[in-house]
């Protein structure tokens, strides 16, 4: 492989690491798995935090994983131009690690929810993750989570200018129908649906591949958030 290098961080309890690896490979990345208890490897352009149940969701989903060396390294990695995606539990880890604001609480109505959902690309979708998508585009993606109810005490307005994806039909009570969230740089993306599980026709949708291949193209073209 000669594409940009991407590390998928594997936490104790991750179960979507292989899925994210396959998705990134399909998008053209030179992707590999990397254990969370080591610092981020040198020479990568992208770090992916997969779905699953890191540390069994003990105490609070994502909290224990947020202290892992690979996660502690992320702010410096982002500052140097690196891209980060956190999918589902990875989104929870990014929030717990302070890379994204707010909190992800229990679904409302309560319960683990796993199904296909449609999300819409908003006018705020810009930067490297969305270079292959246009505002108004709809994506068919699967969800599988119990704690995807994004909340902020200051309300949706606190982040309204950096919400790139909203649910067409809100499955979890998330404020403002928020399905994904960008940081100030546009390089950190937290997303509750699973784009990597919509990256091959056999899976039922290839819409998620647009996110990953967009990031790939942006890196090759030197686009920064």
């Amino acid at each position: 492989m000669t594409g940009p290098r991407a590390a998928v961080i594997v936490f104790p309890g991750s179960n979507g690491d292989r899925d994210l690896l396959e998705g990134l490979l399909a998008a053209g990345f030179d992707a590999f798995l990397h254990p969370s208890d080591r610092p981020l490897p040198d020479g990568i352009q992208l770090a992916g935090l997969p779905g699953g149940f890191s540390y069994g969701d003990y105490w609070r989903a994502g909290m224990l994983a947020s202290q892992e060396p690979s996660v502690v390294d992320l702010p410096g990695f982002v500052a140097s131009g690196g891209l980060v995606i956190g999918v589902c539990n990875g989104f929870q880890i990014l929030v717990e690690g302070g890379l994204l604001p707010g909190a992800l609480g229990y679904n409302d109505p309560a319960g683990f929810r796993h199904r296909w959902v449609t999300v819409e690309v908003t006018d705020q979708a810009s930067g490297p993750w969305f270079s292959a998508l246009e505002p108004g585009d709809r994506m068919l993606l699967p969800i599988a989570h119990a704690e995807g109810n994004w909340f902020h005490p200051d309300g949706f307005d606190a982040v309204a200018d950096r919400v790139p994806l909203v649910y067409e039909e809100n499955p979890n009570g998330s404020l403002g129908d928020l399905a994904a969230l960008l940081d100030d740089t546009g390089r950190v993306l937290g997303i509750m649906p699973h784009p990597e599980r919509a990256s091959h026709p056999d899976l039922g949708s290839t819409d998620g591949l647009l996110l990953l291949s967009g990031a790939h193209r942006s890196i090759l073209e030197g686009v920064r958030g």
Binding site: A110, N149, P153, G173
Partner: protein, 83 residues
């Protein structure tokens, strides 16, 4: 040595499906007049420090840095001296 019992619970207004589920189960027991307001977590720990105020201060710092997400949760600290 001081023993600290930290109680963390959902803030009022935050979705608390555990409380709702426990409430439903209690109702099935047939005892009326019981209303579950929150389900939280307790962390018990020993802290080697000079006085109870310091134990409280250390715990509050750990809460602010990691143990509590203030967007969702509130906490209470109970300190007792270990003999």
């Amino acid at each position: 040595m001081y023993r600290v019992d930290l109680t963390v619970r959902p803030r009022p207004g935050v979705k608390d499906p555990q409380a709702e589920a426990v409430q439903e189960s209690l109702q099935r027991l047939g005892r009326g007049g019981v209303s579950v307001s929150a389900v939280g977590r307790v962390l018990s720990m020993l802290i080697d420090c000079d006085d109870a105020n310091e134990a409280h201060r250390i715990t509050a710092d750990l809460c602010d840095r990691l143990l509590v997400n203030p967007n969702l949760e509130s906490y209470e600290i109970a300190v007792t001296e270990e003999s």
